[in-house]
C-alpha cells in the first residue's frame, strides 16, 4: 500500500503479484495441482505472456493472405509457393483468426482475466460496503501527514472532521479516538467494468458471428433481389443461423450513379456513389424508397444492406444461325482496374442453334487510344464513350452437363468451345458483329450499371456497442479516479489543548486534496472548493 509508484487502475491485486511466493506443489494430490495450475494461470505474468502471444499470433494474419478476407489470394499463394503453402495450411496460417491455436490463446487469456477480475470484483464489492479501514497506529508514517494543536476538545474535532470529510463525499467511520474516511471507489469500479466489458465484447462478437449471416449480391439496374440463399453470389451463415429465418424482403435497383473527379491530379477518382433503391420488407409491404450510399446502409427488417462496389453491365442481344434471339440481357462485367474501369466479362448463349455461342468481351467506358496509339484504354471511369471488344466462340459452352460454371469465365475453351475465325470486332452501342458463315450475331445494345451490395444480420451488434462504450468509460474512470484514505486522530495534549494528527494515503502519487482537507479542518478560509477537487491533480 505504501507503493507510491503504482498507478490507479493498473494496480495488481495481491494474488496477481504474489508469483514469487507461489508455493511449488510438493506431494499434494490432483486437487492441489489443479489449484496450483489455476493460480499460475491467473498470475499477472501468465496474463502478460498470453497478451504477448495474442499479439504475436495475429501477426501472420497480416502477412499471409487469409481465407476469411481474400480466398483468391490464398489460391494465388498456393500457386506461387507450392511446397510451402500446404505446411502453412496445416498450421492454420491461412485462417489465423479461426485457428485452434489462436482460439486456445485468447480463451486462456480470457479465462485468466476472468479468474482475476471476478474474485477482485467480489473483494471490491465488499470493500465498498465495509467500513473504512481503521487508523494505523502511527499516522506520521503515512505518505501525507499533518499535525496541529487546537483549543477545541477532541470530540468536537472528530465531529468536525466527519463533517468536513462527508462534505467532500468521503465515507467516514468513527473509530475510537480517530475518524477513518475513504473515497474514490470509482477507480477500481472502472477498472473492473473495463475488464468485464472486454469479456462482454468478445461474447457479443461471438454471438453475432454464430447467429448472424452475411452475403454479397450483385444487382444490375432494373433488376430485383429477393432475400433467399440462392440469390446471393456469396453467402456465409453463422454456425447456428437458421436459414429459414431469412427476412422475406426484396430490393430493386432503379438507378446507380457514380460521380468522379473530372480534373486535376486525382482525375478519375470516385467522389460519390448513389444507388436508388426500392425495397419491400415483405411481399405485401407497400414498400419504400432509399438512396443507398457508402456509409449510409439501409436497414430492412433485422438486416442491413451496404453499398460495397460498382461496375458496368453491358446489354447484348445474341441471334443464332437461325436468326432467333438466343440471348438478350445485361451482363455484369468485372472491373480489371479502377482508374478507367476497364472491365471484362463473358456472354453465354447455350440456346443458340445450330451451334451454341459464347463471347468474351472487354469494355472501355471511355475508350481512347493509348499513348503509343497501338492499344485502346479507358481514359475515365464514367461511360463517356463506351466501347466493347468482342471475341466470338462457338461449339459447346459446357452448361448441359449441369456442372457449375463461373458466370465471368468461359470454362470450356478448347474442350468443345472454339474461337470463331474472324469473329472479333470493336463495338459501340448499337453496333453488331455478324459472325462469318451466318453462324449468328451479337449486338451491343447499351450500358447499364450494377452495384455490389453486402447484406448482413448481426444480433451481436448492439450488445457489442454497449460493451465497447462501457469499456472506454471504465478505463477512463479507472485512470482518472483513485482511491484515497484519510484518518484524523485527536487526543488531549499539554495545557488543555488538543493535538490533531491527520494522515492521508492515496493510491498512486499524493494529491493536493489532502492539504485542502487539513486546511478545512483547521478552519482556514482558503479551504478550496471541494467540488473542484476530484483528486486527479498532480
Amino acid at each position: 500500500m505504501t507503493d507510491t509508484d503504482t498507478e490507479p487502475g493498473t494496480a495488481a491485486p495481491p494474488e496477481r503479484q504474489a508469483k514469487a511466493e507461489t508455493p511449488r506443489p510438493r506431494g499434494f494430490g490432483p486437487l492441489g495441482w489443479l489449484r496450483w495450475a489455476w493460480r499460475q494461470l491467473t498470475t499477472m505474468r501468465t496474463a502478460l505472456i498470453l497478451l504477448f502471444l495474442v499479439a504475436l499470433g495475429t501477426v501472420p494474419g497480416s502477412i499471409l493472405p487469409q481465407r476469411g478476407q481474400a480466398p483468391e489470394r490464398v489460391e494465388q499463394y498456393y500457386e506461387d509457393h507450392a511446397s510451402l503453402a500446404p505446411w502453412l495450411d496445416k498450421l492454420s496460417l491461412f485462417d489465423v483468426f479461426a485457428a485452434p491455436w489462436f482460439a486456445a490463446i485468447y480463451i486462456l487469456l480470457f479465462v485468466s482475466l476472468a479468474g482475476c477480475v471476478l474474485p477482485r470484483a467480489g473483494v471490491h464489492y465488499r470493500a465498498m460496503r465495509a467500513r473504512p479501514p481503521r487508523a494505523p497506529r502511527n499516522l506520521a508514517r503515512l505518505p501525507q501527514t499533518a499535525t496541529y494543536e487546537t483549543d477545541a476538545d477532541p470530540e468536537a474535532v472528530l465531529a468536525q472532521a466527519r463533517t468536513v470529510l462527508r462534505r467532500r463525499r468521503f465515507r467516514t467511520d468513527a473509530d475510537g479516538a480517530a475518524v477513518s474516511a475513504e473515497k474514490g471507489y470509482l477507480g477500481e469500479t472502472g477498472n473492473l467494468v473495463f475488464h468485464l466489458a472486454l469479456l462482454g465484447l468478445l461474447f457479443a462478437l461471438g454471438v453475432g458471428n454464430v447467429f448472424g449471416y452475411r452475403g454479397d449480391v450483385l444487382l444490375t439496374e432494373g433488376k430485383t433481389f429477393a432475400n433467399a440463399i440462392n440469390n446471393y453470389d456469396q453467402f456465409a451463415p453463422g454456425r447456428w443461423f437458421d436459414t429459414g429465418e431469412l427476412a422475406p424482403f426484396t430490393i430493386t435497383l432503379d438507378e446507380f450513379t457514380a460521380r468522379y473527379e473530372a480534373k486535376g491530379a486525382q482525375r478519375g477518382q470516385a467522389l460519390d456513389y448513389l444507388a436508388r433503391l426500392r425495397f419491400k420488407e415483405s411481399p405485401d409491404d407497400p414498400g419504400g424508397r432509399y438512396d443507398l450510399k457508402v456509409n449510409h446502409p439501409l436497414q430492412v427488417g433485422s438486416s442491413k444492406v451496404y453499398l460495397l462496389g460498382n461496375g458496368y453491365a453491358p446489354r447484348f442481344t445474341v441471334r443464332d444461325g437461325k436468326g432467333e434471339v438466343a440471348f438478350q440481357d445485361t451482363v455484369p462485367f468485372l472491373p480489371m482496374e479502377q482508374r478507367g474501369m476497364t472491365s471484362e466479362g463473358v456472354i453465354k448463349a447455350p440456346d443458340a442453334r445450330p451451334e451454341q455461342l459464347a463471347f468474351y468481351g472487354i469494355l472501355w467506358p471511355s475508350a481512347a487510344a493509348s499513348q503509343d496509339g497501338k492499344q485502346i484504354q479507358s481514359a475515365f471511369p464514367a461511360p463517356i464513350r463506351p466501347m466493347v471488344s468482342i471475341t466470338a466462340f462457338k461449339g459447346d459452352v459446357g452448361l448441359d452437363n449441369g456442372a457449375p460454371q463461373s458466370v465471368y469465365k468461359l470454362d470450356n475453351i478448347g474442350r468443345g468451345l472454339d474461337v470463331v475465325k474472324d469473329g472479333r470486332k470493336l463495338l459501340e452501342p448499337g453496333e453488331t458483329l455478324k459472325l462469318p458463315g451466318g453462324a449468328g450475331s451479337i449486338t451491343f445494345d447499351g450500358l447499364a450499371e450494377y452495384t455490389t451490395l453486402s447484406v448482413n444480420h448481426d444480433p451481436g451488434r448492439v450488445p457489442a456497442l454497449i460493451a465497447a462504450i462501457l469499456a472506454v468509460a471504465g478505463i477512463v474512470a479507472s485512470f482518472m479516479v483513485r482511491r484515497r484514505r484519510v484518518w484524523v486522530r485527536a487526543r488531549a495534549g499539554k495545557g488543555g489543548r488538543t493535538v490533531v494528527e491527520v494522515g492521508g494515503l492515496t493510491l498512486g502519487h499524493p494529491t493536493p486534496e489532502f492539504d485542502d482537507i487539513v486546511a478545512a479542518l483547521r478552519g482556514e478560509k482558503d479551504a478550496g472548493d471541494p467540488s473542484s477537487d476530484t483528486g486527479k491533480k498532480e
Binding site: T58, T147, V294
Partner: protein
C-alpha cells in the same frame, strides 16, 4: 476554384514555415540543453527550494512561510524561452497549415497519408506543449521537435499529395472522430516514447554512477524515476484515446463496410499496438517488470504503432490503403 487553389498553396507555404520554425526550435532546445550549465545549477537550487516549500506546507503553521522566489535569471540569451517561443509560433503555423488545407479541400484535412502524418506531428507538438506547461518537461523539446521535423520532412518529401477529394468511404463524419482520436493518441504516444528512450539512457547512466557528475547534457534531464513516471502518465492519457479510436473505427467500419472487425492489416496492427500498450500498463503495476523491462515494452509498443502507420500502408494491401 481559384480560391481553393490559393488556400492549398497557402497551406503548403505554412507547412514550410512550420518546418523552418521547428528546425530552429530544435537547435535552440539543443543549445539550451547542452550549454545552459549555469542554469542547471540554478534549476537545482530552485528545485531544492521548492522541495523545502512542499515539506513546509505539510509540516505545520510555524514553518509554513513561503520560501523566497528563485532569483530571476537575466544574464545571457535565454535559449529556452527562445526555443519555446519558436515552438509555439511553429505550432500556430502548423495549425494554420492544417486549417487552410481543410478549407481548400472542403473536408476534414486528414484523408491521406500526407495529411495524416502532418496532423500527427501537430498532435505530438501539442502534446509536448501541454507537458511543457504542466510538468515543465522542457528537456523533451529537442527530441519531440526533432521527431516533428522528421515527420514533416517525410510527409512533404515522400508522401505529398495535392489537395483533393477523398474516396467515398472516407466521406463521413466519422473521419473527424476516428482519425482525430488516432492522431491525438499517436502524438501522445510519441511523447511517451521519447520519455521512455530518455529513461533507458538516464537509468543506464545512473546505474554507472555517472549521475553524480554535475553539468553536461544529462544533468538537465530529470531522474530516471521522473522520466519513467512521465512516460507512464502520458501513456495513461493516450491509451484510453487509442482504445476509443479503435472502437470508433469499428463502428465506422460497420457503417461503411458492413462489418465491425474484419482483421484488415490496419485493424490487426492497431490491435497489436493496443495489446502491447495494455501489457506495458499491466507490467508497470507488477513487481519484476517495472523499470527497464517496462520501458522496453513501451518502445516495442511504439514500434508497432509506427509500423501500423508506415509498414501496413506500404507493405500490405488492405481497406486502409488510401495514401
Amino acid at each position: 476554384m481559384g480560391n481553393a487553389a490559393d488556400l492549398a498553396n497557402l497551406s503548403d507555404k505554412l507547412t514550410l514555415a512550420t518546418a523552418v520554425l521547428y528546425v530552429i526550435a530544435v537547435v535552440a532546445f539543443a543549445v539550451d540543453a547542452g550549454f545552459g550549465r549555469r542554469r542547471a545549477a540554478a534549476d537545482a537550487v530552485e528545485r531544492a527550494e521548492e522541495k523545502a516549500r512542499v515539506l513546509a506546507g505539510a509540516g505545520g503553521p510555524d514553518v509554513a512561510e513561503p520560501a523566497a522566489p528563485a532569483e530571476p535569471r537575466t544574464r545571457g540569451t535565454d535559449w529556452a524561452k527562445f526555443a519555446v517561443l519558436l515552438s509555439v509560433l511553429g505550432w500556430g503555423a502548423h495549425l494554420g497549415a492544417i486549417v487552410t488545407r481543410g478549407l481548400a479541400t472542403e473536408r476534414w484535412p486528414w484523408g491521406n497519408m500526407y495529411e495524416f502524418l502532418t496532423s500527427i506531428a501537430f498532435a505530438a507538438v501539442s502534446a509536448f506543449l501541454v507537458v511543457l506547461w504542466r510538468y515543465k518537461a522542457r528537456f523533451l523539446g529537442a527530441f519531440v521537435m526533432l521527431a516533428a521535423v522528421i515527420a514533416l520532412g517525410v510527409a512533404n518529401i515522400w508522401l505529398y499529395s495535392e489537395a483533393g477529394p477523398v474516396v467515398p468511404a472516407l466521406n463521413s463524419y466519422w473521419i473527424a472522430i476516428h482519425v482525430s482520436a488516432a492522431i491525438v493518441a499517436t502524438g501522445a504516444f510519441t511523447v511517451a516514447g521519447v520519455a521512455s528512450i530518455l529513461y533507458l539512457l538516464q537509468a543506464r547512466r545512473e546505474a554507472a554512477g555517472k549521475d553524480a557528475v554535475p553539468g553536461g547534457f544529462w544533468s538537465h534531464l530529470p531522474s530516471s524515476g521522473d522520466l519513467d513516471r512521465l512516460a507512464l502518465r502520458v501513456t495513461m492519457f493516450a491509451f484510453p484515446i487509442w482504445t476509443a479510436a479503435i472502437i470508433m473505427g469499428a463502428i465506422w467500419a460497420d457503417e461503411a463496410w458492413g462489418r465491425a472487425w474484419g482483421w484488415d492489416p490496419k485493424e490487426i496492427w492497431s490491435f497489436i499496438t493496443w495489446i502491447i500498450y495494455a501489457a506495458y500498463l499491466h507490467a508497470r503495476a507488477t513487481a519484476g517488470w517495472r523499470g527497464r523491462k517496462a520501458a522496453v515494452l513501451a518502445l516495442i509498443a511504439f514500434a508497432a504503432l509506427m509500423f501500423n502507420f508506415f509498414g501496413v500502408n506500404y507493405m500490405f494491401s488492405g481497406l486502409h490503403s488510401y495514401a
